[in-house]
Symmetry: C2
Subunit: 554 residues, 2 copies
C-alpha cells in the first residue's frame, strides 16, 4: 500500500533502521540550534510562538470539553497561565476509537510515512518546543533545545523504526500451497492484517515532557493505535504543542485528528479512571513509584510500560585520569541539577581510598576533590545557570533542604542558591554532596534531584556486590565504573549482566553516564525495577499490535 | 561467535526465517510417518522405546530429588505406571541459574545451533514421542504423530527462528564516533550483551503435551533462559522424553544439563509456589481459566504467556458447496473428539435458514444434515477410532453426560460410545450436537470436548455481531464464516479485526478451521481473552531477553 509520505521519508527510515541495527553514531535532526539548519529567524520565531501561548487558551478542538484548566508554574518563577481544554476521558476514547479504522486502513507504510512527516514538522518547531520545555521543566536552554526537541524527535524516530521493522516483517498476504503427493495441492490465500491493540494512554513526566513521552506515543501510534497523552500538570505546553502539530498533520493526510488527543485533568482521579478504562490497552508511564506501581497493579487490561525510580550508581576503584574523572563526575552531578532519571546518586568508594595517576587518594580526599571539581565547574554564574537549570518541583526543593541538614549523611559539599538575572524568582541550586556508609539507609532510596552520596564501602569487591544488589532491589537506569584493572571491569560487567543495567566504563571526556543517545544507547534495560521496558527495542513495539489473519481456499 | 551447530543447521534456520516472513507453505520435518524418511524400523523402534518406559522409573539425574511420582492414566484405559523424579523447585531453580552463564556465553548463534540440534534429535525420536503423546493425551495415532512430533517441532523451530531474528538484530559491539565540529570526534566502543530474563517456567496441558509446550520452551531457551517444564500430571511422558533428549544434547555440547529440567509435582501447591518464586521470570501456560487467571493475577514477577479457554465459533450465512461444507464441519467437530483449543463450539445459523447450492435449508434441515454428515464420517469404526481418539479427562466425560441430558440445549445428534478392539477400557465418544437460541447461556462458556451448539440467531448480521461480542468477552482462537456474499465476508472480516481472531472463510476441502500450520498460520492472535500471546510472532520472543550494554572511550 504505497503512501506518498512513506516514499518522501524512505531514506530517513532506512537510515534509522540501519542505525538501530548497527548502533553506531547516527542522527536525523540537528542537535545544535544553528540558524543555518533551522533558519535565521528560528530562534526569534520560536520565542515569539511560545510567548503567544502565555496567558491564552490553547484550543485543540477536542470532543467532550467540559472546562479549561491552567496549572503550570515555571521553575523559572512565573505562572504560564496557559489554559487547556479539559475533556471527558470517555469522549476522547470514543473519538480515538472512531479514528482507528482509518489509521488501520492506510497500513504500516501510511502510518510510518505520516509519523515521519509529523517528526519533520516537530523538528521545524524545535525552538518553540524548546522554550516550552525549558519554561515548564526548568531545564537550561541548551538542554531544553537538545533533549526537548531533536533528541526527543530521535527517540520517536527510533520507536517508529522499530515499529516499522516489526510491521514490515508481516506480509500483507500469502499464497499457501501444500503438496498432497499425487493429489492436487491444498491451495489457500491468506491475508495478515495488522491491528492496533486499542487506545494507548501515554502519561508524561514533569522533567522531560517530550523526551520521555515521544517514544511511547510514537510506538503506539505507528503500530495502529489511537493515543491519548496525559501530560504532567506542570509540563503541559510542550505536549499540547506536540499534540496540536500531530493533529494538524493527521488532518492534512485525511486522518481523523482525534486519533491523538490531549488529556488535561485537574484531579488525579480522572487520570486513574482513564487508566483503568477497559478500552485503554496500553499505558506508557514515566514517573514515581507510587503512581507507577498503582498502574502496574490496577490496570491489568493494559500493557504497562513503566519507567520508575532507581538508584543509579558508580563504583570508583581506581583511575589513570583522576582530574578528568572528577570533571566528568562533576558535570554529571550538576547537569539539570541532577534531575535526570539517569543521574548517578550513589558513588561507591573503598574506605581505604583509591589509586590514581596522581597518587593514592583517601576517601576524604576524593570527596573534597570531587566537591572542588563541582565548585570549579559552577564557578562562573553563566556556566552554572546554563548547566543547572532550575529545580522543577517543590518536593525536590524540600529534599534538598532535608539533606542539607545532614539528616541523610555528612555534608561534603553544601548546596548554593544561585540568582538568575532574567528570572529573579527562579529556584536554582548547586549539587549537594553527602558522605555516608554502606549501612546508611538514605542512599538506598531514590533521592531525586541534586543530591548524591559518596558511599564508603569495604573494598571494590564489596562495592560491585552492593551495586548489583541495589540495582536488583531498587533498580537503576545507569551504572558506572572507574578502574584501571581489567579484572575489576570484568567483575563489574558481570554484575551489570546479573542486575541488567547499562554500564559506562572510565568516562573522562565528553560522554557522561547520564546521557543516552538514540539509535545507539538503550535507555533502560527493561530488566530491573527502574524500568520494565527500554527505549527502544523490539519488545517496546512488538506487543503494541496484533496480526489478525484470514484465509480461504483458492 | 561461530558455533559448529549453528553452521550445521544454518540452511534450516534461514529457510525458517524466510518462511515466517513470507508465510507460504514450508516445513522442516516430514509430517507423514514414512519409513523412507524416518527409517524402516522407526515405527517398531519407537513403540519399543515407549513400551520400555512403562512401569519403570524415568531417571533424569536432576538435583533436589525427594521422591518418585506416578500419575498417568491413559485415556485408552490403562495406567502407564511410569515414575518420575519429584525435585524441589528451589533446587531446580538454583541449578538452572547456575547453568545460565554458560548458556549466555555461547551467544545467540551457539544457542540457536544447539536448539536446532535438539529439534533434529527430537525429530528422530518422533515415533517414540508420538506413542507417548497418543497414550497420554488420547489422540488418535496419526494426529499424535503429526501434532505431537513434527508439527510440534515446527512450532518450536518457528519460535527459535523468531528468537534468532530478534537476537541477531542486536549487534555484539559497535564503534560510536560522534563528530564534534573542528574538535576530535567523541569515540566510544560499545558492547551489547543479550541476557536472558531468568528462569522460565513452562506449564503444559493434557491434550497437546508437546505442541503447546515446545513454543514457550524453545522461545525461552533460545533467548538465553533456563527452563523448568511442569507437565500436566496426566501427560508427563512426552515431556519427560523431550527433556531427557534436550539434556543429552546440552551435555554433549558442554552446557550444564540442568539448564532444562522437569518439574513433576504431586500437589498443585508446589506448582503455585514455584510459579510465584522471585526467580521465575516468565511463565508459559496452556490450560483452563481458573489456574491461568490465578497465574496472571498472582505471578507479577514474571511475564505470563497464557492460552486459556475460549468460545470458537462459525457464522453460517450461505454456501455454494453445501455437502462439502457439511463434510468439512463434520471433520472439524469430530477430530480428537473436539478436544482441541481450536475446535468450533458455536455455529451461528439464521433462524430462517440459509441459501445453498442445493436450495434453501432451514435451521432444522441444516442441523439434521450436519448430524448426518458426522454420522457418515464416523460410520466405519476404524475411521471413527482414528479420527476421534479417546476422551482425555473425566471432566470432559462428565460434560458430555451433562450435555446429553438436554440440560444445555436440544440434542440434535447424540453421542455414541465406541469400543476399541485393542483398548477395551478406552473412553471413546462421538460428537454431541445441540441446538439452542442465542439467549441460552450454555454455549457462551467454553464447553471443552465433543460438544457443539447450533445457535439460532435472527439473521446473519446478528450472527456476526454475536460472534464479535463473544470473542471479545470470552475469547476465541478460531472463527469461521460460510457465505457466498462478499458483503457478509467483509463484515465478518471487520468483526474479526475488532475482536482479534483468526478467520477461516468457506472451508470446504482439506483445510480445517481448527488446524493452524507453523510458519504460516498464527495460532491465537494474542488480542482476545483466549490467549495473550500468539504462536509465534516477534512479541512472543522479544521480551524474553534484555540487552545489557557497556561502553567506554577509545
Amino acid at each position: 500500500m504505497p503512501h506518498p509520505l512513506f516514499d518522501k521519508h524512505r531514506a530517513t527510515l532506512d537510515a534509522a533502521v540501519k542505525a538501530i541495527h548497527e548502533r553506531t553514531y547516527w542522527a536525523a535532526y540537528a542537535e545544535m540550534p544553528s540558524p543555518k539548519v533551522y533558519g535565521e529567524t528560528a530562534m526569534d520565531d520560536g520565542k515569539r510562538a511560545f510567548d503567544r501561548c502565555l496567558g491564552q487558551q490553547f484550543a485543540l478542538d477536542q470532543p467532550g470539553q467540559t472546562a479549561w484548566m491552567s496549572s503550570e508554574q515555571s521553575p523559572y518563577g512565573f505562572a504560564l497561565e496557559v489554559s487547556y481544554p479539559v475533556c471527558k476521558g470517555q469522549a476522547l476514547i470514543d473519538a480515538g476509537l472512531q479514528a482507528m479504522p482509518g489509521w488501520q486502513k492506510i497500513g504500516a507504510e501510511g502510518r510510518t510515512g505520516i509519523c515521519l512527516e509529523i517528526l519533520e514538522r516537530l523538528n521545524k518547531r524545535s525552538f518553540e518546543l524548546a522554550h516550552a520545555v525549558m519554561m515548564t521543566s526548568g531545564q537550561g536552554w541548551m538542554m531544553a533545545f537538545q533533549a526537548g526537541a531533536p533528541h526527543a524527535q530521535e527517540r520517536a524516530l527510533e520507536a517508529v523504526a522499530y515499529a516499522w521493522r516489526e510491521q514490515s516483517f508481516v506480509p500483507p498476504e500469502a499464497i499457501w500451497e501444500k503438496p498432497q503427493g499425487k493429489n492436487p495441492p491444498l491451495l489457500m490465500k491468506k491475508h495478515f492484517e495488522i491491528v492496533g491493540r486499542g487506545v494507548a494512554l501515554v502519561i508524561g513526566c514533569g522533567t522531560f515532557p517530550t523526551w520521555n513521552t515521544y517514544p511511547g506515543l510514537f510506538a503506539a501510534l505507528a503500530t495502529g493505535n489511537p493515543v491519548i497523552v496525559k501530560p504532567h500538570p506542570n509540563a503541559i505546553l510542550p505536549v499540547a504543542i506536540s499534540v496540536r502539530i500531530i493533529r494538524e498533520v493527521l488532518v492534512e493526510n485525511g486522518i481523523d485528528a482525534n486519533l491523538v488527543s490531549l488529556a488535561a485533568f485537574e484531579d488525579e482521579v480522572a487520570t486513574r479512571e482513564l487508566a483503568q478504562h477497559a478500552a485503554i490497552k496500553s499505558i506508557d508511564f514515566t514517573g514515581g513509584n507510587t503512581f507507577g506501581n498503582w498502574l502496574l497493579g490496577n490496570c491489568r487490561q493494559a500493557q504497562v510500560y513503566a519507567e520508575l525510580a532507581g538508584v543509579n550508581n558508580i563504583v570508583i576503584d581506581s583511575t589513570d585520569a583522576y582530574k578528568a574523572m572528577l570533571r566528568n563526575l562533576a558535570f554529571t552531578l550538576s547537569l539539570y541539577s541532577g534531575q535526570m532519571c539517569t543521574t548517578s546518586q550513589a558513588l561507591f568508594v573503598p574506605t581505604d581510598g583509591i589509586e590514581t595517576d596522581l597518587g593514592h587518594k583517601s576517601f576524604d580526599a576524593l570527596a573534597s576533590d570531587l566537591a572542588a571539581a563541582i565548585a570549579a565547574l559552577l564557578g562562573k554564574p553563566e556556566v552554572a545557570l546554563a548547566v543547572l537549570g532550575a529545580i522543577q518541583s517543590p518536593e525536590t526543593l524540600q529534599r534538598i533542604a532535608t539533606a542539607s541538614s545532614g539528616a541523610l549523611g555528612k555534608v561534603v559539599l553544601a548546596t548554593r542558591k544561585i540568582d538568575h538575572p532574567e528570572f529573579p524568582a527562579a529556584q536554582i541550586r548547586t549539587p549537594l554532596l553527602l558522605a555516608c556508609t554502606a549501612d546508611d539507609p538514605a542512599w538506598r532510596q531514590e533521592c531525586f534531584g541534586p543530591i548524591s552520596f559518596l558511599v564508603r564501602v569495604t573494598d571494590t569487591a564489596a562495592a560491585i556486590a552492593l551495586s548489583e544488589r541495589v540495582v536488583r532491589e531498587q533498580g537503576a537506569l545507569t551504572a558506572g565504573v572507574y578502574s584501571t584493572s581489567a579484572e575489576v571491569i570484568e567483575a563489574m560487567t558481570e554484575a551489570t549482566w546479573h542486575a541488567k543495567v547499562a554500564l559506562s566504563i572510565n568516562l573522562t571526556g565528553g560522554v557522561f553516564v547520564n546521557q543516552s543517545t538514540a539509535f545507539s544507547d538503550y535507555h533502560g534495560s527493561g530488566g530491573n525495577p527502574a524500568a520494565n521496558a527500554s527505549y527502544a527495542d523490539a519488545a517496546f513495539v512488538a506487543n503494541r499490535f496484533r496480526v489478525v489473519q484470514r484465509r480461504y481456499p483458492l
